[in-house]
C-alpha cells in the first residue's frame, strides 16, 4: 500500500488510485498540450495527485470538483516551473526528438509539420490563453475554466473570444489557407 493509495475522510475511504486511473489520460493530455513534453507531463500529473493525496482532510472535503482542482494544480505547476524561454527550449528538444526517433511512423510528416507550425504560433499567445483554448476545445464549462485558470467567471466568455481572435489572426497572417 503506497502513501497515496488512500485517504481517510471520516469513515469513507477514497481511493486516490481510482481517481488517478480515471483522470490520468485527460490530465496527461492537458499537460502535454501545455508543455509538449512527455516527461514533464508525467511529472505534472504525478505531482498533482501527490498534492491531492497529502491534502489535509478538511481541505480535501472542501474541494468539490476534484477534476478541476487537479487541472488547476497542473496548470499552476506548469506556470511555476516553466518560463516562456524554457518552454521554447523544451519544444525544440521535443521536435528534434520526434524527428530523430519517429520520423514518419507514429504521426506522419504532415502532422509533424502542422504541429510545428501551430506550436510556433501558439508561442505568441500567453500561457493563460493557450490553456484557455485547450480547455475550451475539450469542452470544459465556464465554471471549470474559471476555477482552473483562476479567472473571473463572468469574464470567461470574453476571454475565449479574445484568445480565439488572437489565434486566428496569428495563424491566418502567416499560414493562410494551411488548414482549409
Amino acid at each position: 500500500m503506497s502513501i497515496v493509495s488512500f485517504i481517510k475522510i471520516g469513515d469513507r475511504v477514497l481511493n486516490v488510485e481510482e481517481l488517478y486511473k480515471k483522470y490520468y489520460p485527460e490530465l496527461y493530455r492537458f499537460g502535454y498540450q501545455l508543455s509538449q513534453s512527455d516527461e514533464l507531463s508525467r511529472d505534472l500529473v504525478q505531482e498533482s495527485f501527490l498534492k491531492l493525496a497529502v491534502t489535509g482532510k478538511q481541505r480535501f472535503r472542501e474541494i468539490e470538483n476534484k477534476r478541476a482542482w487537479l487541472f488547476r494544480v497542473i496548470y499552476n505547476d506548469f506556470i511555476s516551473h516553466i518560463r516562456r524561454d524554457e518552454r521554447a527550449r523544451i519544444f525544440e528538444a521535443h521536435l528534434q526528438h520526434s524527428q530523430a526517433e519517429e520520423p514518419d511512423m507514429t504521426e506522419g510528416y504532415d502532422r509533424m509539420e502542422r504541429r510545428k507550425i501551430v506550436r510556433d504560433e501558439m508561442k505568441k499567445l500567453t500561457d493563460n490563453e493557450c490553456a484557455l483554448l485547450f480547455l475550451y476545445c475539450d469542452g470544459f464549462s465556464y465554471s471549470e475554466i474559471s476555477e482552473i485558470l483562476n479567472i473571473n467567471f463572468a469574464s470567461v466568455g470574453n476571454a475565449i473570444l479574445r484568445a480565439k481572435a488572437k489565434l486566428k489572426k496569428t495563424l491566418k497572417t502567416k499560414y493562410h489557407g494551411l488548414f482549409e
Partner: protein, 144 residues
C-alpha cells in the same frame, strides 16, 4: 431587432447564456437570419480550432503507474528502529495528535497528513522542523 453580441452568441454556443437572458437570445435567434448565420460560423470555427489544436495533443497516452517521490518522511524512515516501541526524534513540526497506525507506510502517510493539515500549502517540504513520533500498541503520537 438588434443583433446579438459576439459574447452572447459565444455563450449560447457553449450553453452558458445567463438565465435572465436565455429567452431574449432564443427569441432573437428565431427571428434573425444574420445572427443564426453568425452562430453557425462560430460553431464551425470552434470545430476548426479544435482540429488545429488537436495536433498538439499526444499521439498516444502512455499508461504510467502512480508513483511516490522522495519525501522527507521516507528519507527519515530508515532512522526509525524496526521495533520502534520507543520515542524517536524526527525533523519536522508542531502540535500533538493520536492516530492509528499499522505499518511503516502508515506512519509515512500519517506524517504526511499531519504535516499537510498543519500547512496545506506544503511549505514545510524541504525545511527542517522537529517532531516526535511515539509508538505504543499500534498507536502513534505525533508531537513537537
Amino acid at each position: 431587432m438588434d443583433c446579438l453580441s459576439d459574447l452572447l452568441l459565444q455563450q449560447y454556443l457553449d450553453n452558458e447564456v445567463p438565465g435572465n437572458e436565455q429567452h431574449m437570445v432564443a427569441d432573437n435567434l428565431a427571428g434573425c437570419i444574420a445572427c443564426r448565420e453568425r452562430l453557425e460560423d462560430m460553431s464551425l470555427e470552434k470545430e476548426e480550432i479544435g482540429e488545429i489544436l488537436s495536433v498538439l495533443a499526444p499521439a498516444e497516452i502512455p499508461v504510467v503507474e502512480l508513483r511516490r517521490r522522495p519525501s522527507i518522511s521516507r528519507t527519515l524512515w530508515p532512522l526509525i528502529p524496526a521495533s520502534a516501541a520507543s520515542v524517536v526524534l524526527l525533523i519536522l513540526l508542531f502540535g500533538g495528535q493520536k492516530r492509528n497506525i499499522e505499518s511503516a507506510l502508515e506512519i509515512e502517510r500519517t506524517v504526511y497528513e499531519y504535516m499537510s493539515e498543519q500547512d496545506p500549502n506544503l511549505m514545510w517540504q524541504g525545511k527542517a522542523v522537529q517532531i516526535i513520533i511515539e509508538r505504543e500498541n499500534g498507536e502513534v503520537v505525533i508531537s513537537q
